[in-house]
């Protein structure tokens, strides 16, 4: 160990030199304070002995000059002193010294001090090395996370979250908190949203986001219903996630045509459907275990269906907001969210009539930050607020349409599919038929319209044909829940009954036509009996929509058979040989 001794007393220095040399140390000697400072920076010793009283610069000043100039490398300073006043000894430490020994020099004490400080120095060095290592790894980790975040953002992209009817709060690094927010337009022009919260933090929590997002976007685009998407996600996550990691989720479909919302909550805090006109707040509690927990055989999804129009808002949160804790260890809790919503409703009703333009997300985040008195808390919060989507996407995908080059696939084809009994409850044939029809790439721009026609025809055949349900049940306060509960019960208990779906796609000189034939086993009904003027708020919606989309709509076999013809025209400039 290299040791600097600074002492103007030759005899003292001589003895100290010998004591230290006997212990095998390399010693540098300074006779004055000034020389001590100079030699310190020249030789970088590992330990310094300093005499307090020196003629030019005293030991206190030397200590102040050499200590603390390089925090990464600690050099202990030990004062040699004949002073005995407590305040003089304290001053040794105050000015940057680490210890003091009294004169006259005692071999055993000097040796013990040097050993002790050498031990501490080694500890410091180890810590310094480890600190540098940690810093290096941390920097590396942050770089990796940034790169991973970019990849995640490309796959788990935000979809249509930027729409005017959506407000949300999500930290930029939320993916590493395990929070995920996805939004897509459904083929029928509605909006599908999903707020998800994976257990755990960091990369393991983020990994689950990849299959989840892919399934969400691809299945939504193909027209799959919530239950199919959730079943697929649960199966996949059950396969890939390790034990103890699972995914809490709220998923919602807003149907802009029927002004209704289908909602399913598995493991997240209650979501709220807020009626801004009458102040009614409906809470959608979790009704299922989170995704990835249950085996596919035990998994079943039953979304709730509620009215959702201009006056409604959906608010969903992850548990970050509930579990935000203030200084007194109190959690923010669900009660405070409810209080906030009520106050916000009152405020907006006082300030202006009609639906509120207020941003509840930001307001609620501010509330939590104020509650916890911690601005960084806002980073852990994920919130979603959705009002009614005003746009209705029916002639979209122009960009995709422009990319087509030739007539391909199922332009001249026909397919018939019959579902009987249990299949009607268990299988959704729309995505399958849609995908088959869309194998003709020229039809890509018609996806939304074809999806709408198919699902309207099929749902009418099932609900009104096979099950004999009356749309009027939907009217009234509990109408939606009653209607869909009844639909579910009837489907579950169905033993016979049949729906046959057939499409026949034929090329024409200027494009093509698709003839849809949907036949059900019900008793039939008369379209002409439906009275659009009688305030049939919900029941009348499907048919006018179909009429507007199709070239012709025919009723055969007493209403048990509906034939719809959809005509499409080849785009100018595209090849049509």
């Amino acid at each position: 160990m290299k040791i600097l001794i600074a002492d103007d007393n030759r005899v003292e220095r001589f003895i100290l030199l010998k004591v230290l040399e006997q212990c095998g140390h390399e010693v540098i000697q300074a006779e004055t304070g000034r020389e001590a400072i100079q030699l310190f920076f020249e030789h970088r010793p590992a330990l310094v002995f300093l005499d307090v009283l020196m003629p030019d610069v005293d030991g206190y000043e030397v200590a102040a000059a050499i200590s603390g100039n390089d925090r990464s490398h600690w050099v202990p300073i030990i004062f040699l002193t004949s002073l005995t006043e407590a305040s003089d000894l304290a001053k040794c430490i105050e000015c940057g010294g680490d210890d003091f020994v009294s004169k006259p020099i005692n071999r055993i004490i000097i040796k013990a001090k040097v050993d002790a400080f050498s031990r501490i120095s080694k500890l410091y060095e180890t810590i310094e090395v480890q600190k540098n290592e940690i810093e290096f790894h941390n920097e590396h980790l942050i770089k990796e996370q940034e790169a991973a975040k970019r990849i995640f953002n490309n796959i788990a992209h935000r979809g249509c979250l930027d729409s005017d009817n959506i407000n949300y709060h999500l930290s930029p690094m939320s993916i590493f908190n395990g929070d995920l927010l996805l939004a897509a337009e459904t083929p029928m022009g509605g909006t599908r949203l999903m707020l998800a919260d994976f257990t755990g933090h960091g990369l393991p929590a983020a990994m689950g986001a990849l299959p989840t997002s892919e399934i969400f976007y691809s299945m939504t685009r193909k027209g799959f219903a919530i239950s199919d998407v959730m079943t697929e996600m649960n199966t996949r996550l059950h396969e890939v996630l390790p034990r103890g990691i699972f995914c809490c989720v709220v998923i919602a479909d807003i149907d802009a045509v029927y002004e209704q919302i289908s909602l399913w909550n598995a493991g997240l805090p209650q979501a709220f459907i807020i009626n801004q006109n009458d102040g009614e707040i409906k809470s959608i509690q979790s009704s299922h275990l989170p995704l990835g927990v249950q085996s596919p055989e035990k998994f079943s999804v039953e979304p709730q269906v509620l009215a959702f129009g201009e006056k409604h808002k959906l608010l969903a949160v992850t548990d970050g907001i509930i579990e935000s804790t203030n200084r007194n260890d109190e959690m923010f809790g669900e009660e405070r969210i409810l209080d906030y919503i009520k106050k916000d409703l009152e405020l907006s009703r006082l300030s202006q009539p009609g639906p509120s333009q207020r941003n509840m997300c930001d307001g609620l985040v501010d509330k939590v930050v104020a509650f916890t008195n911690n601005a960084a808390q806002g980073d852990d919060l994920s919130l979603l607020e959705v009002s009614f989507p005003h746009h209705q996407k029916m002639d979209d995908n122009l960009l995709e349409g422009r990319q087509m080059t030739a007539l391909t696939g199922t332009l001249d084809s026909s397919l018939s599919l019959s579902l009987r009994g249990k299949s009607l409850a268990r299988f959704d044939p729309i995505p399958l038929l849609l995908q088959t029809i869309l194998e003709c790439r020229e039809l890509t721009p018609h996806r939304s319209r074809i999806f709408t026609i198919l699902s309207e025809l099929y749902n009418n055949a099932v609900e009104h044909g096979v099950l004999g349900l009356d749309s009027k049940i939907k009217n009234g306060p509990q109408g939606f829940s009653n209607y869909y509960r009844l639909r579910h019960e009837l489907l579950e208990s169905l033993s016979d009954g049949q729906v046959t779906l057939k499409f026949d796609h034929r090329p024409l000189a200027d494009g093509g036509e698709i003839i849809f034939d949907v036949v059900d086993s019900g008793t039939g009904f008369d379209v002409k009996k439906i009275d659009f003027s009688q305030g049939d708020e919900y029941s009348g919606r499907g048919l006018p929509l179909l009429l507007s989309l199709c070239d012709s709509l025919e009723q055969l076999e007493g209403g048990r058979h509906v034939r719809a013809t959809y005509r499409w025209f080849a785009r100018a400039g595209s090849s049509s040989n």
Partner: protein
Amino acid sequence: MPAKNQFISSPILDSNIVVELKIIMENEFENLYLTYLTDSEDKLQSLASAVEALDAKTTRLIAHSLKGSSQNVGAVAVSANCELLENAAREGDIDAWHGLLAQIENTFISLKQEIIDELLS
């Protein structure tokens, strides 16, 4: 020398410290005492000038320094007298200075003799 005498300190030179220094200094033992003697004679001269000039600060500093090195080599009497002069200088007790200086010089002469005896033994 009888065994019990080993533990009796000379009032001039502490034999325990001398034994200890022999262990520490090894072949430089003589050199240390010679350094002490030359260094101290210089200091005594400066001390005499400072007392003559009634320079309290210098008197105190040199007395302190001589006290320190004397302590280290076991020169108990010289060290004790230096401490008295250091205190008198700090307190400005000018009347006592000359007497204490003479006492230091006298004890130093005795000490020098003892050291020479020790080195020759």
